[in-house]
Every structure is written in structure tokens, then in C-alpha cells.
Amino acid sequence: MRVVTYAAATAGLIVAVLASGAPAALGDQRASLGEQAMSIFPNPSAPGTSTTFQINCASQSAPGPATSATLSGTELGLADQIPMQPTGQTDVFTTTVVLPTSLAPGTYNPEADCSNGTSASTTLQVNAVPSPAPPTGDGTTSTATNGVLTDAGLGLVGVAAVLGGVVLRRRRSGSRT
């Protein structure tokens, strides 16, 4: 009986975890790290893409919960101190910024600082957005002329010419005799 209860409880837990859904990346990372940590979504991101940064300021060594947090955006070509908004969850702050379109693709290590003295940083991968539009066609349907029709026409001319030649020959030989 007890085993059944445990099994049911475990199953329930698994279902709950599975059901947590799409932005699971954020939630999982936060849950697994009780200490100060930063998460970024989406990661990898791209220039011109709105990207969410979230920091958890909780720390054993900190004197207490943080009241504010800022993201240093210089490295990403943004403002130096970007204030982060409280999330309703103690010590967790978030902000969403649009990465500059001029940002070079590569790896970045943005950092955020909390008012309680803790700070966290994580790796952000920025992928290039392919710029030139791809060539997807060689113009055949817009330029190719109706070869079948042309061939048929030329064929008809040829047949008529041959017939004409035959007829002329017959008439000439006919007139001699």
C-alpha cells in the first residue's frame, strides 16, 4: 500500500515537472540553483532579438534579500546600468532588452549586480542573423520561352519547304515529258 502511495507521489511529481512547459529553461535553472545565478532566454540569441535576463540574488553570504538589481549592458552595446524589475519572487529580478542589430556574433558574459552585494554572470551566445536574402531560383519560369511552340513552328516550315520542293520537281519533270 505504501509503495503504491510513493509511486503515485513520484508520478505526480514527474507530471508536474513535465507540465511546466515552454520556458522551462528559465524555471529549471532557477530551481536547481538556490544561490545567485543568472539565466538568459533565448540563449543562443541574435542581434535585434528581444532577450530576457533573470537573476537570482539569493546567497548564503549576503546580509539579506536584495531590493534591486542592475544589468551591466556595456558589453552588449546597451546602457551601462540597466535596472531590473522585481518578479514578485524574493531575490529574483528580470529585464528584457532588444540586443542591438550592430552586435557582433560571438560569446558574451553579461553580468548583473544585486543591492545585497551579490552578482552573477553567465555565457550568452549571439548567433548572426543571415543578412542577404537567399537566391532561390534561376528565373526559368520567368524567362524560358515556349520552345515546344517554336520547334513545332519551325518543323511546320520545314515540312512545307520539303513538300514545296517535291511539288516543284514533279511539275518540272511533268512539263518536260
Binding site: 548572426a128 526559368t140 519560369t141 524560358a144 515556349n146 516550315v157
Partner: protein, 232 residues
């Protein structure tokens, strides 16, 4: 009698010349169909409705998915292997391609005109974000190629993409537009969307014989409806 034969031969020659002339002055196929609006004419191409804030469409999708018994959760990342668009009779294989050294997205060779490619630096179809697929509009070898009729897709049409894990993602078209290559809306196409979305891209607009390229791109925007398990 002789006169009649003469007349017939002359008539055949004139008709033949006429046919040859007509043939060399008409197109064997017609230029690819274009979506109803030529968005490239505006300086800033309009962002298709719902490309980012897709909450209302999301609700519609859920109702839709429930009706068909689709599972609405985003799909687990898995490489796409085939695409099917029943409304314009497309069934094609999908291969994964990245970018060229010049930074342009790679597309299948023109010698494989019925192959489509998935931009493998972006999300897989059905995962959060915008999955992008490319296909040729035409090719000398065959004339109309795999995405020739892409411009005929209209909002509401369904696109099915099967992944390597054998699950099929269902997507609903919500916008289709023709963009000039010079104002190709890369951000609207590749940019992150919280709800899974799909973009199909091919060439379109006028063909520039001087450069050997089409001047525009036909882009179809679609949103994730749900997924269905492998049949059988």
C-alpha cells in the same frame, strides 16, 4: 489543283513561321504567383500580425488543436525531414543547412529543385522560436520547382512538418508577403517568437536578367497549431 497545292504550302509556311515567332515570344511557364500584397514597396516592411505577441492566435490555435485532437505543447527539438502542404500539393524532403562563408543562408543546389532546406542555426520546427525553411521557385532542369506555388498560400492554410522523431507538427498560415531583397525583413523572419512559428521562403517578384536573380522573396508566416503522434 496546282494552285490549291501552292496555296496550302504557302499557308503552312506562314503558319509555321507564326508559330515559331509566337513560341519565341511567349513564356513556356508563367512567372511564379505572388502573394496579394507587395510588401517590399514600403520602406519598412510591415511586421505580420501576431509575429511576436501571439496570444489571441494562441487561443485560436488551442481551440483548433482540441478539435483535431492535436497535442498543443511545443515539440521536442528534432531535425525536420519532410514537409507537406496539401492545399498547393507540396510534398518534399527537408535537409539541414547552415550559412555560407559570406553570411548568406545556404540553400539546396539548383540541381535538386524539389528539395527544401531548414536553417539549422535556428530552432527546429515546433520548438519555441521561428523555424525557417527555404526552397527554390524554379530551375532550368524542371521549370517550376518545389516552392513555385508558395505565393498561393493564404491565411488558414495548413503546413505539416515531420521531424526525425516521427512526430508531425501542424502549422497554420497567418500571413504571406513579397519583399524586395534589398529590404528583406531578416528580423521578422528569424527573430525569436515565444510561441513556435514557421517561415517558408522562396524567390519571387520580377526576374532581373542582368544579375540573374529574382528581385524579391516570397515569405509565408505560419504559427504552430499542435503536434500529432506518428500514424499507426
Amino acid at each position: 489543283m496546282n494552285r490549291l497545292i501552292n496555296a496550302l504550302i504557302v499557308a503552312a509556311m506562314v503558319a509555321g513561321l507564326g508559330l515559331a515567332y509566337a513560341g519565341s515570344h511567349t513564356l513556356r511557364w508563367s512567372p511564379p504567383p505572388a502573394p496579394p500584397r507587395w510588401a517590399g514597396l514600403t520602406r519598412n516592411p510591415p511586421r505580420p500580425a501576431g509575429w511576436e505577441a501571439n496570444r489571441p492566435a494562441d487561443r485560436v490555435n488551442r481551440a483548433d488543436a482540441a478539435r483535431h485532437g492535436y497535442q498543443v505543447t511545443p515539440m521536442t527539438a528534432s531535425t525536420p525531414v519532410s514537409i507537406s502542404i496539401p492545399s498547393i500539393n507540396i510534398r518534399a524532403r527537408v535537409i539541414a543547412l547552415g550559412v555560407t562563408r559570406g553570411g548568406a543562408v545556404e540553400v539546396p543546389p539548383l540541381t535538386k529543385p524539389f528539395l527544401t532546406s531548414w536553417y539549422d542555426k535556428g530552432p527546429t520546427p515546433g520548438a519555441p522560436g521561428a523555424a525557417v525553411l527555404f526552397g527554390h521557385v524554379d530551375s532550368a532542369a524542371v521549370g517550376p520547382a518545389v516552392f513555385y506555388n508558395l505565393g498561393e498560400l493564404r491565411p488558414g492554410d495548413l503546413i505539416y512538418i515531420t521531424l526525425r522523431d516521427k512526430r508531425t507538427g501542424v502549422f497554420r498560415v497567418y500571413s504571406a508577403a513579397l519583399y524586395q531583397k534589398s529590404t528583406f525583413p531578416a528580423e521578422a523572419i528569424y527573430g525569436y517568437t515565444s510561441w513556435p512559428s514557421l517561415r517558408l521562403v522562396t524567390c519571387g517578384g520580377a526576374f532581373d536578367t542582368a544579375s540573374g536573380h529574382y528581385l524579391g522573396n516570397t515569405v509565408v508566416f505560419a504559427q504552430y497549431v499542435g503536434q500529432r503522434a506518428p500514424a499507426g
